[in-house]
């Protein structure tokens, strides 16, 4: 039961982070938030009995994607006008 509430919390967290990622003017913060969305998603995958996907999401979705986003932002601009 607690696990389910925790999941609900995670889902809300995920949505909150996503909204923050979309709305913030700081692209770096936005990317990090998006990375956290992926990280939260990978925990959700664990709950949904998908360890393979969880691992992939953590490594690729949260890790690699965020990394290349950060590199790209470093090569361009950090703040949205």
């Amino acid at each position: 039961m607690i696990l389910e509430y925790f999941m609900l919390f995670l889902l809300f967290l995920m949505l909150g982070l996503a909204i923050y990622a979309v709305e913030t003017k700081d692209l770096l913060a936005s990317v990090v938030a998006a990375g956290f969305v992926s990280l939260v998603a990978s925990i959700v995958y664990l709950y949904l009995q998908a360890p393979d996907v969880a691992m992939t999401e953590a490594a690729i979705g949260a890790g690699l994607t965020t990394l290349i986003f950060i590199i790209a932002i470093r090569k361009t601009e950090r703040y949205e006008k």
Binding site: A18, V22, L27, L48, T56, E57, I73, E80
Partner: protein, 116 residues
């Protein structure tokens, strides 16, 4: 159920960024959020309550497996989808970097030369 709702909302939030944000980096971020949402949705579609992960590494699971594990196919599909997602993101980012290097801005207003 909450998983469905949350993942659909995640997709919509991503799409919202694509529809409304005037910064091309933000649009790419939106697309990547959308991808995550799609993946969560697919995994939750394959979930079966009270089952374990589809890894048959205990003898117990060998018999009558289909009553003990969740549907592995959506997971396999999502694996592919995640990798494809990062591939698209990488290409998108390289396009964005090139665009920025030409015009020194990420604002969409500057990228409307082709029209009509």
């Amino acid at each position: 159920m909450a998983f469905f709702v949350a993942s659909i909302l995640l997709i919509l939030i991503g799409l919202y960024a694509v529809l409304v944000k005037r910064n091309i980096m933000k649009i790419v971020i939106g697309l990547s959020l959308m991808d995550t949402g799609v993946n969560v949705l697919i995994i939750s579609l394959g979930f079966i309550r009270g089952r374990t992960a589809p890894i048959v590494n205990i003898k117990d699971l060998l018999v009558n497996t289909s009553s003990k594990v969740v549907d592995p196919l959506p997971q396999a599909l999502v694996l592919t989808a995640i990798v494809i997602g990062v591939a698209v993101t990488a290409v998108a980012l390289s396009i964005v970097m090139l665009m920025y290097s030409k015009k020194k801005t990420l604002e969409i207003e500057e990228y409307k030369e082709l029209k009509w």
